[in-house]
């Protein structure tokens, strides 16, 4: 049996598990790939650090030597970051090596350059682990749904924020306390910005949008709001209305045929399959023209789950190397443009603190009507001379809604607009 030589860039949380699984499953992987997969070189920052499952003789701190080694057939990139990861991947591709990467940040920022380099060199660039960790989602999108048309994707693609929102929902915890818990448990980093503000989710949204709509989409195209402003009161209202708040990465086609791609917290019905995605789990909900609704659920992160996804890709690219040929290339034939966030249409839940006196509802309703935002339900709950109005709208554009909210806050009967939340998923 032939041997394919594998070089790896990085041996941290993910890389160390890949190295272990390559050893533990040697025979299995060989029979499935059609070739032995031998890890021959591993680039790290500090070669002094002792690593389980990696002989110290394999380690190097000269990553360039790995991608330029003519004996190496396949490269795994799990070092992360933009530079030097990008230059290293490009060099590997140029040298005719297929590459498997988990680097969502790089793919979201500049995937196009990498895809082009792979196509030019006629080698594979696979990246299943970059979105939703262990969940096979990119392969189904690229291959199983290839004869179908995606209409919309809604994903819970960040485990940390889903953990926080689950605690807030199930235990009534305040945002700050839930974040602290997530940090204590190692789910959230000391600086939680990338998770909490939706930056990580936006990278994944860009990758999903590009695949779903055969267009180039980068992180800059993604409209983004995090969860740090979600309050216990919001969660309570959601509960009362049989809904739950999730941080969703959404991409869909607008009426004008443009790509809407955004990350923000949203209310969804408790009956929606995404509502049952708890704790740090991830899930991607896909609506396709023929296949209908689908959901892919699983572990979005963690060394071993992510390593499993990398190995799935590694076997695929190895099989191609053995049999000749490559997998499906980037598909960007549609070249759709990105919709402005103002053009996005969704439903909204608006909480208003108002004076409890006659005529308030009328003046509030007037403002909605003036902006052609149609109201689905209104709920009023009074307490003394103050009352809370909870308004759920029908689908309306972001821009019409913003204008409505602006005018509402100017009404003398409205003491403040307590919150504005999007409502997603059909009811």
């Amino acid at each position: 049996m032939k041997t394919l030589k594998v070089g790896m860039l990085g041996a941290g949380t993910v890389g160390s598990q890949i190295a272990r699984l390559l050893l533990d499953n040697k025979a299995d992987l060989a029979s499935r790939a059609g070739a032995e997969l031998e890890l021959v070189k591993v680039a790290v920052k500090n070669i002094k650090t002792k690593r389980n499952s990696i002989a110290s003789t394999l380690l190097t701190d000269d990553a360039t030597s790995v991608v330029n080694d003519p004996d190496i057939d396949l490269i795994i990139e799990v070092m992360g970051g933009i530079s030097p990861a990008k230059e290293l991947i490009l060099a590997a591709l140029k040298n005719g090596k297929s590459v498997v990467t988990a680097n969502k940040a790089l793919l979201a920022k500049d995937g196009a350059t990498l895809y082009e380099a792979a196509a030019k060199a006629n080698v594979d660039l696979y990246y299943e682990a970059a979105v939703a960790g262990a969940i096979p989602i990119l392969r189904p999108l690229r291959e199983s749904l290839v004869g179908d048309h995606v209409i919309r994707i809604m994903g819970i693609v960040n485990g940390t924020t889903n953990y926080i929102l689950t605690k807030m929902d199930e235990e009534g915890t305040a945002f700050k306390d839930a974040l602290k818990q997530a940090q204590d448990l190692g789910f959230a980093e000391a600086d939680p910005t990338a998770d909490v503000e939706g930056i990580d989710a936006a990278d994944k949204a860009a990758i999903l949008a590009g695949l779903a709509f055969h267009s180039r989409v980068t992180d800059k195209d993604v409209y983004r709001e995090g969860i740090s402003k979600i309050t216990a009161a919001d969660v309570k209202v959601a509960k009362a209305m049989e809904m739950v708040i999730k941080l969703l990465a959404i991409t869909e086609l607008t009426d004008a045929g443009e790509i809407s791609v955004r990350v923000h917290p949203a209310l969804i019905s408790r009956n929606h399959p995404l509502a049952a995605v708890r704790e740090s789990f991830n899930a991607v909900f896909v609506e396709a023209k023929s296949a209908g609704q689908m959901m892919f659920y699983g572990r979005g992160a963690g060394g071993e789950p992510t390593a499993s996804a990398v190995l799935g890709d590694l076997v695929a690219v190895a099989r191609h190397r053995v049999s000749g040929g490559v997998g499906p290339k980037e598909s960007d034939y549609a070249s759709l443009s990105i919709a402005a966030i103002g053009a996005t249409k969704t439903r909204y839940l608006i909480r208003l603190n108002v004076a409890d006196k006659p005529g308030v509802l009328e003046s509030v309703a007037h403002v909605f009507a003036a902006h052609s935002v149609s109201i689905q339900t209104v709920r009023q709950s009074g307490a003394g001379d103050k009352a809370e109005l909870i308004v759920m709208t029908h689908h309306s554009s972001e821009s019409a809604l913003s204008a409505t909210v602006k005018d509402l806050s100017k009404l003398s009967a409205v003491s403040d607009v307590a919150s504005v939340l999007r409502v997603e998923g059909a009811i």
Copy 2:
């Protein structure tokens, strides 16, 4: 661009949708397959029937002429049934044509013969649509999880029974009435046996078990119980215990390293992702060693969803035809044997009608202990001089449990064993 000629066997619920989508998405499919896909011949029983999207000149009632046509490159089999579907597929493979089929019954009965013929002819045999319709589950199992080890699969793979159980759960409907509703809505056939008694689910269980554990598994290997004995009382008890009853297709490895493969109703916690799978939706829950828990959710049947899955396969085999090479072949290297149902271990919920007098619980507990079946919880609810005991066990073998139930029914204090239900999914 090259043209690949496609022959189709059958043009019913699924086939008619395939024909339509092949026309509607012609350009798209060509760009993704790397070749134009032209439907050139369609075998049906009655060529007089008018078919949308299929020119009558393409129709033939001589199916053999389709698989023997030297101009045809790829065959789609959606006629169903064992014979002549099997002979036709074998002829097509022998003639060097790759085949895409949705025929779960045939694959479960005699997949091995087909897989061997495909391997011998070095062509593809793809069958994503055979299990859980539109849900990409076989490809993730065969390709994404190829570097991992499946531990257990639990699937809701029959839409009709899930619809019935959903009605029973959510509306308290009796089994017979829920079945009638399903029939009126066209979900269930006039003769519902194949669905209700788990025969259809068992076919899918066999296919999943074979793929998951790299062994040959047929429909005869599957232990099977249907849902016709589930009562409104069972559903009520499940609800009270925050659980729900689902018809599950389960395959897992026993402690002895054998394959347990079975279809039966089971209680699962309302917190389990499968519990949220409502109505006629399907879902397959997979536990893998490295990837952890995953779930794949979507439409398990219907002409258009199933056609979407067939087209995904068709593009894959077309790509292989264009580039040379074939996809992963059958993997049966493990050749594990099938465990007897008695060796299966799970938890149980047993409802007993007992006399409400001192010492009953003691004598019941004694029977469990005598068979080394350990009790997790007991709930007693009295009404006059009668009481109901609800016993939940820890994991125990089917054989120990059956012996326990037999002895329980002999106890004078036990008037009857009202029901015995398996409990699945970790809590």
